[in-house]
């Protein structure tokens, strides 16, 4: 199973429809400070069902919607679509390719789609849960986790192990 395509519009610093095609091996993401690289990581987390705004560096979920730039007003909706190749039949669906889509409107309404068919957030989360991967469908390594391991407090270090178990 691998990620083939990420499509973002209206999410954080990406007001315009933007697409990234990932390689099967190592895809590098580069650019100056503050240009949007970590926002791509946030987009992947968000479309896979992340519900904690703090893990997306926001106070409220609404903060992931593009909120404007000089000369450009805020938009009303954030949408992210992730295409996953099911090349080893790991996902419990007949398709060789699965597209998960998540939308959030300023009203607070959310929409979720699996291969363009409306579904519930639960269906997206369970898609990966059934594979035995669950929230382990993807692994993210960030400085905050390294800081936790280096922390003087045992509970910070143990926290990572409890999450993995």
């Amino acid at each position: 199973m691998f990620l083939s395509r990420l499509e973002i519009v209206g999410f954080k610093s990406f007001p315009e429809r933007t697409e990234v095609r990932f390689g099967t091996g190592i895809t590098g993401i580069v650019g100056p400070n503050g240009c949007g690289k970590t926002n791509l990581l946030d987009a992947i987390r968000w479309v896979m069902g992340e519900q904690r705004p703090t893990l997306l560096r926001g106070g409220r979920m609404e903060e992931v919607i593009f909120n404007g730039a000089p000369g450009v007003g805020p938009v009303g909706m954030a949408e992210v679509s992730l295409t996953v190749e099911n090349n080893r039949g790991i996902l419990p669906v007949e398709y060789s390719e699965v597209v998960i889509t998540r939308r959030l409107f300023r009203s607070g309404e959310s929409e979720y789609l699996l291969n363009r068919v409306p579904c519930r957030l639960k269906d997206i989360v369970e898609l990966f849960l059934d594979t035995g991967m669950g929230s382990h469908a993807y692994a993210v390594f960030q400085q905050t986790m390294i800081d936790a391991l280096l922390s003087e407090k045992p509970e910070d270090r143990l926290g990572l192990f409890e999450e993995a178990a």
Binding site: F2, I26, G28, G68, A69, F141, A165
Partner: protein, 166 residues
Amino acid sequence: ARELFMKTFEQARENFQNLFAELFEGGQADLILEGGGDPIEPDLKIVARPKGKKLVTIQQLSGGEKALTAIALLFALYMVKPSPFCILDEIDAPLDDANIDRFLAIIRKFSTGDTQFIIITHNKRTMEAADVLYGVTMEKTGISKIVSVRLEGQPVGVLSEREVSE
């Protein structure tokens, strides 16, 4: 739950010992779990002994040694329940050239073993190791745009001039 934790811990510990020895080309590291019986709080000690040096806790290692040891431990935990893809956000920042190469060797090993990597980095060597490279730019303030990038032996300082728009 306690049993699951211990099972995870033992596997992670073994992976950590092996990965550390590989990343540090020798030397040893270990995880020591103490306490957990009331009223003692459970404590996790991370100790390491780079080749030719003394055994110390992770906090006493140098900046780069700490980072590489923590990376070994993150991968050790990852190996207990591997995912098909891994996203790394600038964790190579404190590593010197020699350590970046060792870090990339481990990445390639996992990559050959079917793990897909997405690596956010400012490091030239990491960029060279990538199969595909994307640049994120903000020409218009506050608006991100993605371009595909080629290195082609150019000093990466001219990255922006070499950008090939998708």
